[in-house]
Symmetry: none
Subunit: 204 residues, 4 copies
């Protein structure tokens, strides 16, 4: 699997949020990619360092441990996408528009620039300790409350008949599930996917 670790590949990875072109940012980009592609446990710090183009010992100038790198990847993912969700809500005039905006934003976060980091957030959640989960859980709650607020609005408008919590969980599942099959260069665009997903959510 040496092909996964060339420093060249690193430049093709998106540099969003704190994953800029600083040494720390480069480590996080490579980590998000490798932890997603190979899994956290199966990725060695040497592979990670090789992809960044430094020696393995140098990683520990930027992060205290391999664990800390995983936490930072997750943190960057959730911070960045929380911003995206806020923007999505602000740009929608009606609850229905806001819901569609959230769906599109979440689909983009999962299949777009932050796909690796988001996958790591979901798949490697149990690789971090409960203590490390605390700050992330706080942000996740804020993230989820955005959704539930919009769904509650729709229910009051009579456009949704089901329990907001269950409904959100089912939508969430179908959206996050796209990570397992959606190809960004395939025949379906994010825009189309958003339409279908929105239709399913609204019962159309």
């Amino acid at each position: 699997m040496n092909h996964l670790m060339s420093p060249e590949l690193l430049h093709a990875l998106p540099a969003i949020g704190g994953m800029d072109d600083s040494p720390r940012g480069r480590v996080l980009r490579a980590a998000a990619y490798l932890f997603h592609e190979q899994g956290y446990a199966r990725t060695t710090v040497r592979e990670l360092a090789q992809m960044v183009g430094i020696q393995s010992g140098s990683l520990f100038h930027h992060f205290k441990s391999k664990d800390a790198i995983l936490c930072a990847v997750m943190s960057e993912a959730i911070i960045y996408n929380l911003q995206q969700m806020h923007q999505a809500i602000e740009s929608g005039a009606t609850p229905a528009e806001r819901l569609k905006g959230l769906i599109r934003a979440e689909l983009e976060s999962i299949n777009g620039n932050t796909s690796h980091a988001m996958a790591v957030l979901v798949y490697e959640w149990n690789a971090i300790t409960e203590q490390q989960q605390v700050p992330l859980l706080a942000m996740r709650e804020e993230y989820e409350s955005l959704w539930v607020n919009v769904l509650d609005d729709l229910i009051q408008e009579g456009k949704l008949k089901h329990d907001a919590f269950i409904w959100r969980r089912l939508i969430s599942g179908s959206t996050f599930g796209t990570a397992l099959w959606y190809k960004s260069n395939g025949r379906v665009s994010i825009a189309e996917l958003t339409e279908v997903s929105f239709a399913m959510a609204m019962g159309q």
Copy 2:
């Protein structure tokens, strides 16, 4: 995390399919549980052996390697649940009934007796080599074709307007996603969940 590994806990785990009370079956039951709870890479063969109540060296009389145990868990999961899907289809008179049957069966496979093995199948898919994936992929294709056939029937009846492939993927995502939040002893029953999920699938 020693509480995860007591031999007593093993007896509480469901013995379905090939996970019977033979030595091999006990290993698979324990493996499904531990690989789900801790992850495959973070579970040691010693922990596994301890839960089964044998020494770690003895595991290798029943399985060639730790890898082989993981493959067997996945195989049992998919074989067993393929049978469940066939039964679900046979017991439905109309396409809509058959869809609801599939949804219920899949929700049960994910949250019921086979929950651990199913989670392992999804989460640890990349832990096995492509060669090891081949036989499982064949069964998965059969599994998926059952769904697409039913959805195609519904489309021909005019009851569904969207692409069967995408539709199935979105339903699949919301169903598998329940593994992350559904509590079998919570306030929502599988039956109710089936209703909501079916409603969402049918656009109601």
Copy 3:
């Protein structure tokens, strides 16, 4: 320093107390020798394993960590020598005889079969945590109380004029100090050394 680590050398090391010819005992013998000769921090587990004639990983079947090996060496040293002190006291009819017996026993423990382990006990005391020191300190207190009791008897007999605590500390220092210069194959025997040391202690 490869000459320090041949398995042959191991057989020449004394096998007292728990340092018998079991795998565990061989590790302790080699550890006492190397930790004394090179220092604990400068001795690698590979060197230790090489001297025992096993692989470095195998060490950890017998001891949880390098730390634990150090603690075990210290523990063996103190347990064994506590026994020796008890014997020395029992075989003396008068306080003066008992004092001489203690001095001889301590000189032998420091320069005889347990010399390496005793040196480790003194030199590497700060390499173990305070928690690890607790059980050893308890034994050390018993050890020291044997001395103080005898000195108190001598003071009551009028044969000693000074504070028992300070006196014991000074004797102790001169005795333990022999580790730095006494050669067991030199011109002075332990018996002679005992006489001189006893003379100094009694002010003769």
Copy 4:
């Protein structure tokens, strides 16, 4: 153990001999303290630099290596204390007075301002190479000859009956041993300790 490394603590450390307030001197003061408190091997150059108030890389503008710092600490200790011994001898009119002067001076060197450096000299002797020991050994021989000369004088006066070499080693042991138990702010003063130690040496 961060409390061991504050730059404030450095100012409380005695500045004797070459350990003045130059950059080099500050490093040596901190090194003597940390090497004694934690051991040479367990003290990192980062800790040392932190206590001095500089960056670790800057240490190497003043010393070629960590080794060189250790050697310099030892050298300062022995040079300074050799002077003290010469002074002690000069201020004694009789051999007995000179012996008492030596004992007092040595007790002060071990428990007074040079305590850290002296402890390092004893405890870390084996951490330096034989080549590095050479210049120190030369000074040590001079140091010891001062003692033996005085003891020889006492023997000729008939005030001492034992072998000067052994006698010196035993006294030396009891004196150096005070490092392990003597508290400079405890109930015993150096003056009193000198009396007891002198009494023991003279057989009184």
